[in-house]
């Protein structure tokens, strides 16, 4: 227990039976500030939270079971629905895991496009998380500034793949469509205009007395606790854990790009807010470098690898393309997968998003385990909220960025 946690919180829970003046409050499953469907049973002493018991599973839809029945290309549609705030990051994480299992290297252009998408998804996720945290603590204008820019991001995704929300953009060995000049133009425009929005957002909240009072010193997570509770991503970095998979285990093209890892020491809601704001600026740096250095060339692996569908011109005008398309489309052919197991993690906006895949030779995974950051962070919630007031529940919940669809899968 941290020194800053009120003494109240450290009292033994066994004493609760004697304190019959405590009351129980059901927070959720349908409450505007949970944003999705999750339930917390709070034990209150007046306005102080003595204990919190999360009750999850309302949105459980068996995604991992479905992963054992959908093939490696079909399952990408399910990953969209996990963290639906940043579906592009999930798509990329899933297919990086599949490509690791297959031992496949995608062309540089594809890697650059995926990097840009991951970072745009990170900005989109952080905008929602910080925006909603502002909204829950009373900063409505801030939320509107954030959501306006998310709209621009949705337009960019729509230009790229036709879908705004559930993108399903990546494929094994490539992506669905190549990036068009219009996409590049829209990303450049976003890079030009977005810093002004962050400036505005920071001006609205960074010196806002109400917001600081409601977040500073609330929900403190120490570095030791963050490690013990397996935290990752912005939640861990706000507590002084300097782990960032983009730097520590570079994937895609992150090792060629110049960016910083943003950390804080205090580990409270305020630090988590600041880390996310700082990460958006770094993400913008990455997007800028990647879009200006976007290489030309093919976007999918060639027909020799026989994993990505060849483009239509190849199919209609070459015999190799036709055969490759035919073999991939036949349900009894598909591609070769080793009977092996591998784990691949990416630095998703929310934390470490990894997939543990077991291949059995067919093009359907034998086991598709998703390591969901929301699930792991929500386990910490009761420890962060004990001893704080009821109104702090929304601040802590907002700062952890719990997405129930990813939580329950």
């Amino acid at each position: 227990m941290s020194l800053l946690t009120p003494e109240f919180a450290t009292q033994d829970i066994a004493h609760d039976e004697e304190r019959d003046y405590l009351w129980t409050l059901n927070f959720g499953p349908q409450h505007p500030a949970t944003h999705t469907t999750l339930r917390i049973v709070l034990k209150l002493d007046g306005e102080r939270v003595v204990d919190a018991m999360p009750d999850i599973g309302y949105l459980h839809s068996g995604f991992e079971k479905l992963g054992e029945h959908l093939d490696y290309n079909q399952y990408v549609t399910v990953t969209d629905r996990m963290n639906y705030i940043s579906p592009m990051a999930n798509n990329v994480a899933w297919h990086l895991a599949v490509e690791r299992l297959l031992g496949l290297d995608v062309p540089p252009r594809c890697q650059y496009i995926r990097t840009i998408l991951c970072e745009l998804a990170r900005i989109s996720d952080h905008l929602l998380c910080d925006g909603a945290m502002g909204l829950d603590t009373g900063a409505f204008t801030f939320f509107l500034y954030a959501f306006n820019q998310r709209e621009t991001l949705y337009d960019i995704f729509e230009t790229l793949c036709g879908a705004r929300f559930t993108n399903s953009y990546t494929r094994v060995g490539g992506v669905m469509h190549d990036a068009t000049p219009l996409f590049v133009e829209k990303v450049r425009a976003f890079v030009r205009t977005f810093p002004k929005t962050i400036d505005d957002m920071e001006r609205l909240l960074n010196r806002n007395r109400i917001f600081i009072d409601r977040t500073k010193g609330v929900g403190i997570l120490t570095k030791e606790q963050a490690l013990s509770w397996s935290c990752s991503g912005p939640v861990a970095r706000a507590s002084g854990v300097t782990r960032d998979l983009r730097k520590d285990e570079p994937y895609l093209v992150y090792k060629d790009l110049d960016f910083n890892v943003c950390c804080a020491r205090s580990g409270d809601c305020w630090a988590r807010y600041l880390v996310r704001i700082a990460e958006m600026r770094e993400s913008l740096k990455i997007v800028n470098q990647a879009i200006e250095n976007l290489p030309s060339g093919p976007v999918n692996v060639g027909i020799d690898q026989r994993t990505a569908l060849p483009n239509k011109r190849m199919v209609y005008s070459t015999i190799e393309g036709l055969i490759s398309h035919f073999e991939l489309a036949m349900s009894n052919r598909g591609f070769d997968v080793p009977s092996e197991e591998s784990y691949t993690a990416t630095e998703a906006p929310n934390g470490e998003l990894g997939f543990y895949l077991v291949g059995d030779g067919s093009d359907v995974a034998y086991r598709a385990r998703c390591r969901p950051p929301s699930y792991i962070h929500f386990a910490v919630f009761p420890h962060l909220i004990r001893g704080h007031t009821l109104s702090d529940v929304v601040a802590v919940l907002g700062s952890l960025n719990i997405i129930a669809a990813e939580l329950d899968r």
């Binding site: 991992e64 029945h69 397996s230 854990v241 197991e341 993690a345 543990y356 386990a379």
Partner: protein, 165 residues
Amino acid sequence: MMDSKHREALLAAFPALAQSEFRGQVRFVVPRGSLLDVARKLRDELRFDLLVDITCVDYLHYRGATDRFGMVYLLASTATNERVTVRVFLNEPDLTIPSLTPLWEGANWMEREVWDMFGITFAGHPDHRRILLPDEFTAHPLRKDYPLQGRGERHNFPILTRSQG
């Protein structure tokens, strides 16, 4: 991705561990009895301080598999950025394995999910309950002998009407 020095240090302490590697990922198969000792050694001496994930695989229909369940413990080091996978194989009827909650608090919910989905029991777990599925559920749906569409549980959930609510 595990340093060879650390690999030898672990094998020196536990010579019986079977080791394998795939795409640079090092895996050790640990007997159930020494799981806690191996995990403690990895955490305290070899600085694998982060428990990334705990999951399980049911090898019922897997070609060439000899064991029914394979537990997967993914560990990582925040100091050296190494990763290691620890495997423990379990067979019916004894599906009990020591809990890692004494070492990492984060193991709590991960193990509850494995219990919920696979029916593996964790000895010494402080809060051994289902987590995602309702408490009255009896099956463990990620087992391979559980059908994709379920066994009719969805139709048998008690229905609450507005007047009862």
